[in-house]
């Protein structure tokens, strides 16, 4: 079971975890990405998330599919917020449910690594200096590349 949402609204992690739980699930790993209060040491006023509607949903579906194929996951839930967010707001949620913990952890890491490089979302940060687009981080490119060299 895969469920993807791209939305402005916040979400409730407990409810999302329940939605991927079932009688055969023994392990759920989750990741929450949260807006921090500063950007390169400037206090952050807001973070705005933009996406490519249509392509962004398809990209997340593809990443979730690949994670399901790779490990023995029973369910995957991805929520990515868009629009204007404030410090401490949720940005993204990934939940992976499996019979066993290693598959749940690996699924979550895999999805986050590829979400960072293969899903068309862009962040801009508003500080007192103005509004700037966040640049891609080389570390993220390397994190998703590292999976290609692992045997599945």
């Amino acid at each position: 079971m895969i469920k993807i949402s791209i939305q402005q609204e916040d979400f409730d992690v407990s409810a999302e975890i329940k939605s991927i739980s079932s009688k055969t699930v023994g392990a759920i790993a989750t990741f929450s990405g949260i807006v921090r209060d500063s950007s390169e040491s400037n206090p952050l006023i807001s973070l705005t998330l933009e996406h490519y509607p249509g392509m962004s949903e398809a990209a997340l579906e593809k990443i979730a599919d690949a994670a399901m194929q790779k490990g023995s996951l029973e369910a995957v839930r991805i929520i990515h917020r868009v629009g204007r967010l404030l410090p401490e707001d949720n940005i993204v949620f990934v939940g992976c449910a499996s019979a066993h913990r290693h598959a749940a952890f690996e699924g979550c890491r895999y999805i986050m690594d590829f979400l960072k490089t293969d899903a068309p979302f862009w962040k801009s940060e508003e500080t007192q200096e103005g509004r700037i687009w966040v640049s891609e981080r080389e570390k993220d490119q390397n994190a998703s590349k590292s999976w290609l060299s692992k045997k599945t």
């Binding site: 490519y52 962040k123 981080r137």
Partner: protein, 83 residues
């Protein structure tokens, strides 16, 4: 051909999409960007450094040497920074 712009590519160009028919010699993503640079100062700024530009053809990431057809939806944007 429908062309979409996101993030600072759109900020430079000033709008988020346009429809146009390309001349015959524009056959790849890279050639399309070169052609678009002639449309305005904003376009020229957006496509000044093509190493900073990523592209999608019909909502799939593609390389700059990918060939186009007039029915395509093409998007130009910076490297993604979601999550």
């Amino acid at each position: 051909m429908r062309i979409l712009y996101f993030a600072w590519v759109r900020d430079n160009i000033g709008y988020s999409q346009e429809e146009l028919s390309c001349p015959k010699h524009v056959r790849t993503i890279h050639q399309l960007a070169e052609y678009l640079k002639l449309r305005s100062e904003g376009h020229a700024r957006a496509f000044d450094d093509m190493s900073a530009i990523r592209a999608a053809r019909n909502q799939q990431f593609v390389t700059h040497d990918t060939e186009l057809s007039d029915a395509d939806e093409i998007a130009f944007f910076p490297p993604v920074t979601g999550g």
